[in-house]
């Protein structure tokens, strides 16, 4: 199991970073997974053990998504309230003025690009990415299947990645 873990480690980080939306979080999760794997010792497992590895990893991720939902809300509230200054220069906490301007410019390009796409594609992407609905929630909102949503989001991302730096 430990060897399998070693071989799969980098790919596991990629998988979990997609869902957790953070490479650092995924690294952390994969380290927790290592401790679990190590605790198993040289346990005899069916096949090559990758099924077990995946299930263990998946459970850890679900735990983390639950606590992320709680911590996220708390952190967001806190951040919203913090402002600071250096000398006489006011600093809107995390995002600097330039960050906001650059972000807005990218968003403008994003919006312009979305307008050139089929309406369903643009709508699915907006609901998922900007309004933060999950694929399943977006599917319900638009009355289409989840796989249709995934195709739309994919198509929008491809178009955007071609347009944005």
């Amino acid at each position: 199991m430990i060897r399998l873990y070693g071989e799969r480690r980098a790919n596991l980080v990629r998988i979990f970073a997609a869902r957790l939306r953070s490479v650092a979080e995924a690294e952390d999760l994969v380290q927790d997974l290592f401790l679990k794997v190590q605790a198993l010792g040289e346990l005899e497992v069916e096949g090559d053990g990758s099924a077990l590895l995946f299930r263990m990893a998946n459970n850890l991720m679900l735990d983390r998504l639950r606590s992320q939902a709680r911590a996220g809300a708390r952190d967001e509230n806190w951040r919203g309230l913090q402002t600071t200054t250096l000398g006489d220069q006011p600093v809107a906490d995390a995002p600097s003025a330039e960050d906001v301007v650059a972000g807005r410019q990218r968003l403008d390009v994003m919006m312009a690009t979305l307008e050139t796409l089929p309406t369903q594609v643009a709508k699915a992407f907006t609901l998922h990415k900007l309004d933060g609905l999950s694929h399943a929630e977006t599917a319900v909102a638009m009355g289409v299947s989840r796989s249709a949503i995934e195709k739309h989001v994919s198509a929008a991302l491809k178009a955007l990645m071609a347009k944005l730096p």
Binding site: A18, A24, Q31, F34, Q38, L86, L107, M110, E150, M161
Partner: protein
Amino acid sequence: MTRSQTDIEVAIDWLVLLQGDTVTEDDWRAFDAWLTASPAHALAYDQAQAFDQRLDLDARLVERAPSVTATASTNVIALRPTRRVWLWSAGSAIAAAFVAGAVLLPGSGLLGGRETRYVTGVGERRTIALEDGTRIELNAASRLTVRFERNARHVRMDDAQAFFDVAKDSRRPFLIEAGDTQVRVVGTRFDVRHRDGQVAVAVQRGLVEVRPASAAPVRLRPGQGLSHVEGQDDARVATVPVDEVTGWRQGRLIYRDRPLSEIVGDLNRLFPRPVKLADARAADMRLSGVLIVDEQDAMVGRLSHLLPVRTTTTNDAIVIRAR
């Protein structure tokens, strides 16, 4: 259509699938096989993922940016959480004074400032609450001195690593001296590491001005970090994963491509039994990964799983050599 564009498109399909609510074991196997098939695939996937995270960040950035009407009310509410931190700090100030071995020295400062010295031993970690509401989390085997004056708050870091949560006071800037480098802030959260002649600063929140001797001052924003070798003329500013740099606060040492010699240095600040490197080949090995801080034997054991090394334990030392 070029080859790499195709890879990117496939990578985006995978990314979206993996972000879905139900990922199956078959998906995982197929993705794993695709990644393994070509290094270009992993590269394309990492690019797609970075791009996607950038979009998420943009979306949130614009949401959070204060609008003109929101600013006034934000400032009013801002007092609340700050005050809560103050109250909380007051209790731990008393505790910290006992446990961190605080030594009060007679007012030696020219302006009559009072100097307090804080020391942590090997394996000891302490939170210090200062009278202005600032909190300092001191990592193991660290020494620093705090001196408050009417116009400024001073901290001198000897060999130390600390995370600062500085209370806002625009009339008294917070100045940190770490070797030949000066850090200046008003109110913010950041990490400073001054070890083995190197200074590293990583900012979590707010704005921090860093001035290494003989280099131009640099203003760091959240997510940015500066590293500097004492005595040299330059400093390197880069985007740093601040949560990783400050992992020690949660008992996690997180490394990205760091030499084993540095990791052994960190271990020796955590446990009294010394860890030694037997050869230069082992010292130069690079590690990326997370080490959870628990028992020394267990941590060294995990190192030998992550790197091609062998460890020998005796009563008074642990020796690591290349395998």
